[in-house]
Point group: C2
Chain length 159, copies 2
Amino acid sequence: MPAASDPTSFLAPEDRRLLDLAIEQAELGWDEGGVPIGAVLARGGEVLSVGRNRRVQQGSAILHGETDALERAGRQPATVYKECTLYTTLSPCFMCAGCALLYKIPRIVIGENRNFSVSEALLAEHGVELVVADDERCVDLMDRMMTERGEIWNEDIGE
Amino acid sequence: MPAASDPTSFLAPEDRRLLDLAIEQAELGWDEGGVPIGAVLARGGEVLSVGRNRRVQQGSAILHGETDALERAGRQPATVYKECTLYTTLSPCFMCAGCALLYKIPRIVIGENRNFSVSEALLAEHGVELVVADDERCVDLMDRMMTERGEIWNEDIGE
């Protein structure tokens, strides 16, 4: 159980559990030498896939946490995506936001948006429900990324 | 040389050559049983990569023509993308448009936008230069796709 002072204690238990799974993926990515961003695609609490940024691990320009999760979920009909929530440890870049819009994913739970936030207005305009957890572990992972692997982070966001 | 009546004869010869290369990729994708959309990433006329939609071929949910081309170009610094033109046989979906925005690709040459167009306003808002060729071969490929493989096309755009 989160402590009463936990700023994310407003999260529903299911969202907390699935965001934690995305954070596990982010931590795994960090331990692999990569960009610590993880994601989960879930439908009604059932995990369809987990993913993490693979820039370093696979030399990939397009496998961010969210796109990696979508890719690992495989080919799905539109009816599946429309019942999904996408969990991501960091506010989505335009590519990952666009991927959610392409598949009309109606809801995104975002670990944190202090270190990066570009697409939330676009997503909201298209009716996507956004829940920002402001999770300290997510913030800490990105703080470390920017401090210790800043050059890779800049590459990851085209800066 | 294109005939004087060719509606795409306004294209610069370099753009014509690189769009043709994207069309070759689209045709290859069609012959493989896939979605006939191809793309090329080029810098100053030099081809960095070619790509095509791999939904059918690789069971992929994220390898559209444009993202496949970006992936095949490998990890590149921001300075490279900022000098690139992205050629695509069909107007980009939100994911592929978002990918171009992520990497701040300044210019996109679009084969056609009659059969699909969702992201051009967004791209233009962000200052991306768009050139629409209205190329008959691109239109014909998508017409065939929608007629003969309509279910896969719907899956590809989350419909």
